[in-house]
């Protein structure tokens, strides 16, 4: 049985979280669901990694978090991007595109 790899590419989880939050503030599960939706199921998020990453990003000052009551009247910790986080996202995106284009150039190269 050949199952498709749904792991997030190593080292990109932070960028994906930052990108998702740059659209709107979300709680942990919201972020996971959004990433899965937008990636059309290519990436499935491991909750442990996600929550730890959120904690790390918040400590690093890229995210702010606060407990809020959600639309379905439950308490949830909602994260939103800080200014430093926005900057970090720009840096990471730029870095990523540079690498991706390099890789695709390599893959397209013909003998």
């Amino acid at each position: 049985m050949d199952e498709a790899n749904t792991d997030v590419i190593q080292g990109t989880l932070d960028m994906l979280i930052l990108k998702t939050l740059s659209l709107e503030p979300l709680h942990g599960f919201g972020i996971a669901r959004r990433i899965e939706q937008i990636s059309q199921g290519v990436f499935k998020i491991n909750p442990g990694s996600l929550l730890t990453a959120l904690q790390r990003l918040e400590r690093g000052g890229w995210l702010d978090a606060e407990w809020r009551v959600t639309e379905n009247s439950r308490r949830a910790k909602v994260y939103k991007l800080t200014r430093a986080g926005k900057k970090q996202l720009e840096n990471q995106t730029a870095d990523w595109s540079r690498r991706v284009s390099a890789i695709s150039r390599l893959l397209k190269a013909e003998v």
Partner: protein, 894 residues
Amino acid sequence: MSIWRQLTRGLRALTNRRAADQSIADEVESYLEQAAEALEANGLSPDEARRAVRLHLGNATTVREQMRSYGWENLISARASDVRYAARRLRHNPGFTVACVLTLAVAIGANSAIFSVLNGIVLKPLPYRQADELIELHHTAPGVHFPDVVSAPFLYFTYRQQGRSFQNIGLATSELRTLTGFSQPEEAQCLDVTAGLLPMLGVEPEVGRWFSEKDDVPGSPPTMVLTHGWWRARFGGNRSVIGRRIVVDGVSRTVIGVMPAHFQFLDQNPAFLHPLQLDRNKAFLGQFGYFGIARLKPGVTIEQASADIARMIPIALHSFPPPPGLTVKVFEDVRLAPRLRYLKQTLVGDIGKTLWVLMGTLGVVLLIACANVANLLLVRAEGRQHELAIRAALGANWSDIARELLTESIMLGLLGGAFGLGLAYGALRLLLAIAPANLPRLHEISIDPVVVLFTFTTALITGVVFGLIPIVKYAGPGIIPALRGGGRTSSQTRQQYRANSALVVVQVALALVLLVGSCLMIRTFQMLRRVDPGFDPKDALTMRITIPETAVKDPEAVMRLQQGILENIRALPGVTSVGITTVVPPEESPDSRQVYARDKIYRSVPPLRRLKFISPGLLASMRNRLIAGREFSWTDTYQRRPVAMVSENLARELWDDPRRAIGKQINANPKDPWREVIGVVKDEREDGVQLEAPAVAYYPLLMNDFDGQEFGVVRTVSYIVRSKRAGSRSLVSDLRQAVWSLNAALPLGNVRTLNEIYDKSLARTSFTLVMLGIAGAMALLIGLVGIYGVIAYSVSRRYREIGIRVALGARRRELARLFVAHGFVLALIGVACGLVGSVALTRVLVPLLFDVNPLDPLTYAAVSLGLLITSIVASYIPTLRALGVDPIDALRAE
């Protein structure tokens, strides 16, 4: 900003772990609920949804743990729990803990105390701005065998004008001056300085101003600056003192400033300062006797400065006239050369050597203490061997076990350090009380942050050092086999306490080294006490009187007044004899001259000798012995006959035999008439009993043709009063009466007993002796406790074996011998190692010893024997317990 956030969040998590945990749990929970809800929306039942979520999320606890483990605070809280655990274990073993902490506290405290002395005296920079640029303009004169020559005005002017290496140069000299106009005439120490000196040191006056260059010009209105202490004592710290006039040596001077309290000029303690007012036009070659200080230009080394000085000395010799009667050639033959040294070196001198020896000694005491604590830890670790083995078997990492043991020993070390600091504080007060008063920078010694840092670094290192020993032995990877033996049921094997025994051997060896060191100092002290100083310091008093020219002008009248005072003193009750001299070392710097003998031919200048001016009767009052000839009479003095006396060593040097010196002729200046030697005096060790007696020429107090002067008298003299009442207050007030009945304006200076001076010369040796003695005693005590501990432990471990032996009919005396022999063998090996160590290490003591061979066989034998005997006693005491063993109890105990 993110660092700030890291810090605050981390601290918050650290201080309120529960809230942090709750927040994490809530977040995980809320995530699960959201996920479940989403699945329910997709049509799953609530139960199914929950199960699916859990399946997907994995173990919620694992997630929580994963989240918890993020953050620096976890490292700390892990260590904190180690510490809590270690603290609990130490608390449950109060006997062990107290023993360890006390041992360490004493050893670390002693180290901190000596370190604070070393730090205050040797390590700390002098309290001046950029003190490492300051040097003393010191010289040497190999041509006259005079290693230490200070500075002189002709050099000062030359260096100031031509020097390339200095930012600034200053001269200073210390004088005793007479103050009148107060209720009693008094003498006070005055520091005469050039205007540039204090600005160069970077000290600002507290009130008023410092001497300007103008004040320092000869002939400008007389001024003075007061030091803080004298200002407080004399004027109650009143700021209106500025502008007041004070009469010093008959000259009225205006007070222009007050120095701050922290101002200290080297080890001098002047009451006030005068501008030196050197006159370049009156300067001539010679006039040595000024203390020269210079500030090096940035980046200039002391070697470069020396080369600069060496270049300028010939220039100086040809820029100034020689004094009357001497030629430039004489000064060239002196071969004056620079011998610059840092100002700190000048001040601290060779006391640093003594202090480093003491520091090293106490370091050894600390090692012995470490060995003791390591031994206690070993015993404890062995008791826990079973537990440790089980933990290792259950999967505890051996590094975890090691960390736990190390935490415990570091805690012991730090506790010892904390208590040690308290002890050091007390010890330092004691130390300063017994320290020789001539120890430099005494007031700069304190427990400052550097000392605290030193203490805790030492404590930490100590903790690691003694903590590693049991770790290597018990927490190593090979811990499991310990389970098999079970440890408890069998008697101890020789193998098991090899580590303990090794430690005891080390302790005994180190203790022996220290004891040998302190015994060598005791022998030195004995030898010094046995030395004949050439005078009798008991029951004698000295005091100094200066008759200024403003009081009495005529030299002969001065002599008459001096003799009148002498007669008055002689008439006092209880005074057996009294005499006048000029030099009472080591307080006063003696006058030195080149002494020529008429029957010798000199190719170059002769060496410098000490010159003393004395009155008839001085020899009796000092209890100096006359070896040949006679002493001066009053007739010799008043008729100003050309006579002299010499010391025994000078007579031997010049004419081989003291008796042949009589009738020979000498002088101290080729232009002066020859003086006939009429007596030879036995050598006096007046610079301190450990130093060779100086070669001395004695002159009468009143002279014709001395040093080019037609008619001279010595105006500052010291009286030596021999009386059983020396040291009593009543004698001092009698003396004052005796002086003031003749001239009420003369102050009595420096009234002290000769014994004080004599003891002072022994002070450094006795200080070293006391310190080494304390260190040796501590080493002995700690070492003996070590032996006691090992034997006591071995007895307790072999309780069962003893029981069996007794049951089988072993005699108690033989049992006792078994244990005592064990202790004795350990001590014997320790002594053997220690002897080897002593031979190597006592070499560092050589500069402190006097007339004692560092390999003195008697000392070595006595110390070894003493150590062996006390170690037998130390191992016999715990053995008594073994003798009382009831075999039934012993066998049942298991």
